[in-house]
C-alpha cells in the first residue's frame, strides 16, 4: 500500500520505528496534493518547502533519540480558520486575504507539539458559515466521490483532503454540523467533541457558544489519536473544560456495544430524508442490535425547534464576533483615500469583503439582538436551547448513546442549493441539537445510498464529556461494516 493510503496510526508507527522518514511521508502527500488538487481544490494554501522543513525537524528529533508521540511526522491538513504564524489565515474570506497572524491557535500549537506536519490550510465556507464550502471566497471544493458534488461544509476542504488521500488527518470546526456533515458526505470519520473539550483560542469565531474544533480521519482510531493530540484544558479559553480528556484512543481501540443501550431519535426521519440514507441508517441500527446493543426508540420533542433556534443564536453571536473586521488594524481596507471617514471605510470594506451568506447572517443576527426583538428572538432561542439540553438529559437517563442519520441526504450537486438558504440549512437538521446542548457526537460511514451510490453517515451522540462512548460505538460499527464490505467504504470511491 502506498504511503498516502496508509492510516495515520500506521504512518506514526512506521516513522517512529524509522522504517520511513517523515520527509518521505510528507513528499508522498505533497505529490498526491499536486496530482489531485486541480480537481478537488481542498487547499487554500500549501507550502511544500515549509512542510518538508517540519518533516525534517521530526526526523532530526528521532535521529537525536527523542521518543516521538504516536502522530509525530504524520501529515495533517489544517482548516483555514485556525491561526498559524507561518501560513496565511483567511477563514475563507476576502476580508482576510493574505492575513498572517502573529500567533498560533492553541490547536495549531498542540499539532506542532505532537510533531504533526502541517501540509497547508484547507478551504471552508466563509467564516465557517455554510454546509457546502460553496461560500468560500476562493471557489468551491469538490467531493472526491463525485466532482460535481459538494464535499459538505463548512469544513469541506478538510473532509475532501482526507477523502482524496491528500492527508490522512485534518482539523475541522463544528458549529452546527460542520465536521459531521462533511465527514458523512465524503465517507470518512468526523468528530465533534464536547463543547469546551478542545480550545477555541485562535479559532476565528463564528458562534462562540457553539464552535468546537474536532478531527477528521479515514478511520475511528486515527480520529481518536488526533482528538487526543489537540484537546484538553486551555487557560486561554475561559469556556475550555477543566477536566481530563476522555480516553478516546482507548475507546477507539476497543469498539464494543455489547449491553449498550442505544436510543433511536424518533424525530429524525420521514419527510425530507433520502430513502437511501434511511435504509443505511436502519441497517446500522440492526447491526448494533446484532452486536449486542439494546435498541429503543427515544423521543426528543424539542429537537424539531433546534434549527430555527440555531439560526437565531449562531447569527446573533456571529454579528458581534465579525464586528472586529473593520479595516482598522488588519485585513482588507477599501476606500481609504483620505477623504472618507473611518465609518465610511469600515462600511465599504465590509461591503466588499464579506460574501452574501456572511452578510445574511450578520443582518439576521443584528436584527435578532435588536432592542424590542431580543426577547422574541434571541431570548426565545435560548429557552429552546435549554429545552434541547433537557431532552438530551432525559434521553441519556434511558440510553447510553443516541443515533441518527448524520445528514438527511447524501452530497448534493454543487449549485443546487446555492440560491436556497433554507434548503442548505436543512443539511444540518440532525447535527444542530448536539451543538446547542454542547455534548459530543461523531459521524462514521455506514454505507452508500442506493439512489446515487454516495456515502451515508451514522451519527452517534453521547452526553457531555462522553466523547469516549462515541468512539467505542463508532469503532464497533466500523469494524463490523468493514468486515462486511471487505475494506473501508472509502476504498469503494472512484479513483481520482
Amino acid at each position: 500500500m502506498s504511503l498516502v493510503h496508509t492510516s495515520a496510526a500506521e504512518l506514526g508507527a512506521l516513522i517512529a520505528s524509522g522504517e520511513v522518514s517523515a520527509v518521505e511521508v510528507a513528499q508522498a502527500h505533497l505529490a498526491r496534493i499536486s496530482a489531485v488538487e486541480p480537481q478537488v481544490n481542498a487547499f487554500l494554501h500549501v507550502d511544500a518547502e515549509a512542510t518538508l522543513a517540519q518533516a525534517r525537524a521530526v526526523d532530526a528529533r528521532r535521529a537525536a533519540g527523542e521518543a516521538l508521540g504516536p502522530l509525530a511526522g504524520v501529515p495533517i491538513a489544517h482548516k483555514d480558520v485556525f491561526t498559524t504564524t507561518d501560513m496565511p489565515t483567511t477563514a475563507g474570506s476576502k476580508i482576510l486575504e493574505g492575513y498572517r497572524p502573529p500567533y498560533d491557535a492553541t490547536v495549531t500549537r498542540r499539532l506542532r507539539e505532537a510533531g504533526l506536519v502541517i501540509l497547508g490550510k484547507t478551504n471552508l465556507d466563509e467564516f465557517a458559515m455554510g454546509s457546502s464550502t460553496e461560500n468560500s471566497a476562493y471557489g468551491p471544493t469538490r467531493n472526491p466521490w463525485d466532482l460535481t458534488r459538494i464535499p459538505g461544509g463548512s469544513s469541506g476542504g478538510s473532509s475532501a483532503a482526507v477523502a482524496a488521500y491528500e492527508a490522512p488527518l485534518s482539523t475541522g470546526t463544528d458549529t452546527g454540523g460542520s465536521i459531521r456533515q462533511p465527514a458523512a458526505v465524503t465517507g470518512i470519520v468526523g468528530m465533534k467533541p464536547t463543547y469546551g473539550g478542545s480550545s477555541r483560542y485562535g479559532l476565528i469565531a463564528f458562534a462562540s457558544s457553539l464552535d468546537t474544533p474536532g478531527p477528521f480521519a479515514r478511520n475511528v482510531l486515527d480520529a481518536a489519536l488526533l482528538h487526543e493530540a489537540f484537546s484538553g484544558h486551555d487557560p486561554m479559553d475561559s469556556t475550555s473544560v477543566d477536566a481530563p480528556v476522555p480516553s478516546v484512543v482507548e475507546a477507539a481501540r476497543h469498539g464494543d456495544v455489547a449491553g449498550l443501550r442505544v436510543g433511536v431519535v424518533k424525530e429524525f426521519g420521514g419527510d425530507g430524508y433520502q430513502p437511501g440514507v434511511l435504509a443505511r441508517f436502519h441497517e446500522s441500527v440492526e447491526l448494533l442490535e446484532s452486536l449486542g446493543a439494546k435498541v429503543v426508540e427515544v423521543s426528543c420533542p424539542s429537537f424539531s425547534t433546534a434549527l430555527p433556534a440555531y439560526y437565531l443564536i449562531a447569527p446573533s453571536e456571529a454579528s458581534s464576533n465579525l464586528a472586529r473586521f473593520d479595516a482598522m488594524r488588519y485585513g482588507l481596507r477599501v476606500g481609504d483615500d483620505g477623504t472618507r471617514s473611518a465609518e465610511e471605510v469600515m462600511a465599504l470594506t465590509r461591503a466588499a469583503g464579506f460574501g452574501p451568506e456572511v452578510k445574511r447572517r450578520i443582518i439576521l443576527g443584528t436584527y435578532a439582538l435588536s432592542s424590542g426583538y431580543y426577547d422574541a428572538y434571541y431570548g426565545q432561542a435560548q429557552k429552546v436551547r435549554t429545552l434541547i439540553a433537557r431532552d438530551f438529559e432525559a434521553a441519556f437517563h434511558q440510553v447510553d448513546v443516541l443515533v441518527s442519520p448524520t445528514t438527511p441526504t447524501t452530497a448534493f450537486p454543487i449549485g443546487e442549493r446555492a440560491d436556497d438558504p433554507m434548503a442548505m440549512y436543512l443539511a444540518d437538521l440532525c447535527t444542530i441539537p448536539t451543538n446547542l446542548a454542547g455534548n459530543a457526537a461523531i459521524s462514521v460511514p455506514c454505507g452508500l445510498a442506493d439512489e446515487d451510490g454516495l456515502p451515508v453517515g451514522l451519527q452517534i451522540m453521547a452526553p457531555v464529556l462522553g466523547d469516549d462512548r462515541c468512539y467505542r460505538v463508532a469503532a464497533a460499527v466500523e469494524k463490523a461494516l468493514e468486515q462486511r464490505w471487505g475494506g473501508s467504504l472509502l476504498s469503494k470511491a472512484p479513483a481520482l
Binding site: 491561526t83 497572524p101 500567533y103 469556556t239 446573533s316 458581534s320 472586529r324 473593520d326 488594524r329 434571541y378
Partner: protein, 495 residues
Amino acid sequence: MPYDEALERFEPVLGLETHVELGTASKMFCGCPTTFGAAPNTQVCPVCLALPGALPTANAAAIESTIRIGLALNCSIAEWCRFARKNYFYPDMPKNYQISQYDEPLCFDGYLDVEVDGKTVRIEIERVHLEEDTGKSTHVGGATGRIHGADYSIVDYNRAGIPLVEIVTKPIPGTDRLAPEVARAYATELREVMRALGVSDVRMEEGSMRCDVNVSLMPRGASEWGTRTETKNVNSLRSVERAVRSEIERQAGILADGGKIIQETRHFHENTGTTTSGRSKEEAQDYRYFPEPDLVPIAPDTAWVATLKAALPELPRLRRKRLQQEWGVSDLDMESMHNIDAIELVEATVAAGAPPADARKWWMGELARRANEAAVPLGELRITPDQIARVCAMVAGGALNDKLARQVLEGVLNGEGSPDEVVAARGLQIVNDEGELSAIIDQVLADNAATADKVRGGKIAAVGALVGGVMKASRGKADAARARELLLEKLGVSE
C-alpha cells in the same frame, strides 16, 4: 437663568455615573501591563487588539476589587452574574463591542452617605459593574480636537482593555439648591473610598476617574421628573459642581421659555464652565446587549465575599468621624477640610508630630490660600506634611514666629529647599541674642521718646507701638514677647 431664580422655580434631580480605572497590574481580559504613559501601542497583544481568534479571560484581581468596591458601598453581591457585550462600532474599540455587564451587575443596591452643609445625605447606589476601557483616540487637525473636522485620527490601544468599574447612582431627588454641592461631595467621597480600598489611583485629570453627571429639572411641586441630560468630560471635582450648576441654569432657561429639554449627551468645557450638545440620544445606538459567550459566568463564593467584607479598611467617613473626635474640631471645620482634600494632609502632618490645631491652621489658612491663588489642589503644593510639622516644631520651640513661619513656607513652596535650609538661606531665625535686641530697643526708645514717656507715665498699653517699632526695625525677626519684657524693664515699669 441665574441659579437662584432657577431654584425658585424648579427642583433638580441628579444622577451620577462614575467610571474608575482599576489599578490592577494587568488588563481586564489579557496579561498586558496597565502602566500609564507608556509609548503608544506598546502594551498590546492579540486579545486587546481583537486579532482574529483571540479570546478574553477575566482578571480575577479586578473581580475582587469590584466586589470590594461593592461591599464598601453597602451593595449586595451577585451570587451569579455574567459579562455582556455592548455592541457599537468605533475605531478605538478593537472588537467593536465592549465587554461590560448589562442586566446582571456584580454589585447592586447599595448606598454612600456624604456630608453636605453639616447634614448627612444618603446617595443610593443602583449598581457597580465591571467592564473594559476603550483605546484612546487623538484627532489631529481641525479646530476642536474632536473627530469632526479633524484631518486624521490616531488610536493608542494601550488603554484598551484596562479594567473599568462603573458606579451608577439611583436618581437623587430632594437635593434642592445644594445639588451642585451634593454632586461634588459624592464624587469626593467616592474617590476617597477608592483610595481607602487601594483599588485605583483615582486621578481625574489622568482619566482614571471620570464622572458623567445627569441632571433634570421639574417645576416646584411637580411629581414627574423632567427629561435629563448626561454631561460627560467632567474632569475634576470642581467641574462636577460647576457642571451641575451650569446645567440647572441652562435647563431652567429653556423650560422657563416654554422650551423642551432634549435627552442628549452634553460636553462640559472647563474654560467656560458650561456644557454644549454632544450626540442626541434619539440618534443613539441600539447596543444589542447579549451575554458574553466567550466568558463563563462569575459566581463569587459566599464565604470568600464574607472574608473580603471583613477585611475592608476603615472607610473614609468613619475615619473622618474618628479624626474629628481626636482633633476636637467642629462639623463645619471638618467639612471644610474635607471639601478641599485637607484631611489626609492634616492627618499626615499630625502623624509627623504637629499638634492638630497647628497642622489644621497652616493647611486651612496660609496653604489653602496659596493653593487657591495658584488654582491647584492643596495636595499638589510643593510642600509635604513632614515639612509643615517641622515648621510647627520651630514655632513651638520659639525659633520662628508666625510671620517668619509664613516666609519659611513661601521659601519651601518656591523650591528653596527644606524649612531648615530656607531659614538658614533667608536668615529667618528669631533674634533672641539679648545684646542685639537690646541695641534695637535702645534705638527705638530714642526714636520714640514721646511714646516712651507715656508708658513711663503708666499708659502701659502704649508699649504695643514700641514693640511694633522693634519688630519693624528687626524686620520681623525679633521675639515680640521678649521685646515687650525688655522694653518694660528698660522703662522701669511693671504690669
